[in-house]
């Protein structure tokens, strides 16, 4: 294939499909074993300084917020992060734990842009390589397929490609230029789900986001779940399992684990909490005060839930509405 263009962006996690296979063969377990543990145990055991991590879905929606807060409490440093995110990435940036970002979108949608991102990147503290949302998700998909890259038809002709680490080649079949995106194999994936059994068989409700791709692209996968259900329940509706147990390393029970994000059919977003953070995050001192109160100030997710308060959480449950 004729190489037509190479993106100038740094490839923070070069694709290594053989290394991933080797990892699976030597480190993953296809036996059904109980993987339920606390978030402290899971993060201590499976997240290392310098790891490349990804989260799913995203900051205001079914986000693994309790796991992110625990990662910050344990001060896992020099993280490399795949970012289509909101609150989860803002918190990691605010705690200064991120060295590099494969970024597609980090901001607060309707509420505004991210001050944490601006400070981290404009100061030169955090290095970036840009992609599109489709582009980065197909990078997970390539990893999930066990291949080194996939051809896609977006990013072409733009600076998004020029500053990515994608390449453009002449497609050997049509002769037209096509964009190749490198597989993104994650060291650690963090995913929040509606239901899981103790082995890690997981269900999500509503949109699936990129749960299939990210779960299969992760060497180590920590799942937090609104509730733990029996395996008999899982076996009754196997078609609803989006993550089979063998992909999972740890199962952490975390009711309201997505707060202040929403969890469809369970609780609506805590808009007030988010907007307060967003406002405070414009000021580094207030950002630290937020972390001191909501992250460092609690030892566990249960303590966090108490701090938010059941009245507030019941209110959010009533606001989500029906199907």
């Amino acid at each position: 294939m004729k190489l037509l263009e190479s993106g100038a962006g740094e490839l923070f996690q070069p694709p290594d499909p053989d290394g991933f296979r080797e990892w699976v063969h030597t480190r993953k377990n296809t036996k059904m074993v109980d993987k339920v543990m606390t978030e402290q145990e899971a993060v201590a055991k499976f997240v290392n300084d310098g790891d490349y991590i990804g989260t799913e879905l995203y900051g205001t929606v079914r986000a693994p917020m309790s796991l992110v807060r625990e990662t910050i409490r344990q001060e896992k440093k020099h993280l490399r992060v795949a970012g289509q995110g909101i609150h989860e990435i803002d918190l990691l940036l605010a705690a200064d734990l991120v060295d590099t970002l494969d970024i597609t979108y980090i901001a607060w949608e309707v509420y505004g842009i991210s001050s944490c991102l601006r400070r981290a990147v404009e100061s030169g503290r955090v290095k970036t390589t840009d992609w599109s949302n489709g582009g980065i998700t197909w990078r997970f998909k390539a990893a999930a397929m066990g291949v080194p890259f996939l051809p896609i038809r977006s990013m072409l002709g733009t600076d998004t490609l020029k500053y990515s680490a994608a390449k453009v080649v002449e497609d050997p079949f049509t002769g037209k230029p096509v964009c190749l995106i490198p597989a993104l194999f994650l060291d650690v994936g963090l995913i929040h789900v509606h239901k899981a059994d103790k082995y890690g068989n997981c269900r999500v409700e509503g949109i699936s986001g990129f749960v299939h791709e990210l779960s299969r692209a992760s060497k180590k996968l920590i799942v937090s779940t609104e509730e733990i259900v029996s395996t008999d329940e899982i076996r009754k509706y196997p078609e609803q399992t989006v993550i089979p147990y063998y992909l999972v390393d740890a199962v952490v029970e975390a009711k309201y684990g997505s707060h202040p994000g929403e969890m469809c059919y369970r609780y609506w977003r805590d808009g007030e909490h988010m907007q307060t953070f967003l406002k405070d995050s414009a000021d580094p001192a207030k950002t630290k005060a937020y972390l001191d109160k909501w992250v460092y100030g609690v030892k566990t997710h249960d303590e966090y839930v108490n701090l938010v308060g059941m009245d507030r959480l019941r209110q959010l449950e009533s606001e989500i509405g029906g199907r």
Partner: protein, 254 residues
Amino acid sequence: MAGYNESEFLICLASKLMEDGTTAFVGTGVPMLAAALAKRMHAPNLVPIFEFGGTGASLEKLPLGVGDSRTFHKAVAASGICDIMETACRGFVEYGFLGGAQIDAFGNLNTTVIGKYWPPKVRLPGSGGGNDVGSFCWKTIVIMRKHEPRSFVPKVDFITTPGFLTGPGAREAAGLAPGGGPYRVVTNLALMDFEPDSKRMRLIATHPGVKAEDVVKATGFELLVADEVSVNPEPTEKELRLLREEIDKDRYYI
């Protein structure tokens, strides 16, 4: 005619561009309100598509993000981002709605950085699904809330999302599928299209009370002007009532 603000005008005008029975990629902000309004007015069969998986939501309640539960409330399908992007890549999505900090004469958009790439003067959110929408949809409609020279620039600092790139034939030469590209630009002053031969932005209608020369002056590049420039319709009482009392009761946007 009751009074209305610029946002309301923008939303009503964008809404009129949404055809009944078509598919439209809907992003956060004005496009969501425009789609919700269109479904209540002339386009009940509009199928809103949200990048994280929602297809055909009722939009009874205004989504606050492209993945929140309102993007698939009473929808016909709730899938995932790969399915949605691949569906668009196969040609199923007619319209895409986008915004940006900067736009140039060929409709290229910047939502990534102001200044050099790294470290930038201002780090903006990034492409999100914007680049994919601009690459795959048949017709992209750009909504710019403020028509002024600093956002309508001769050269964007960063091409996040492809318009017509450097002009006729450039999208195809870059490998993008033929037939797509920018279709309309809606601002607080006017409505623009792209002149078919040069692919350059062209003024086709102004808002009531706005002169063509005002729009030309507010544009930082040479704006083409159509032979006949019409006047955009004002929001109706019904549209304003729907927007204020149903769609954006909490005043997130208007």
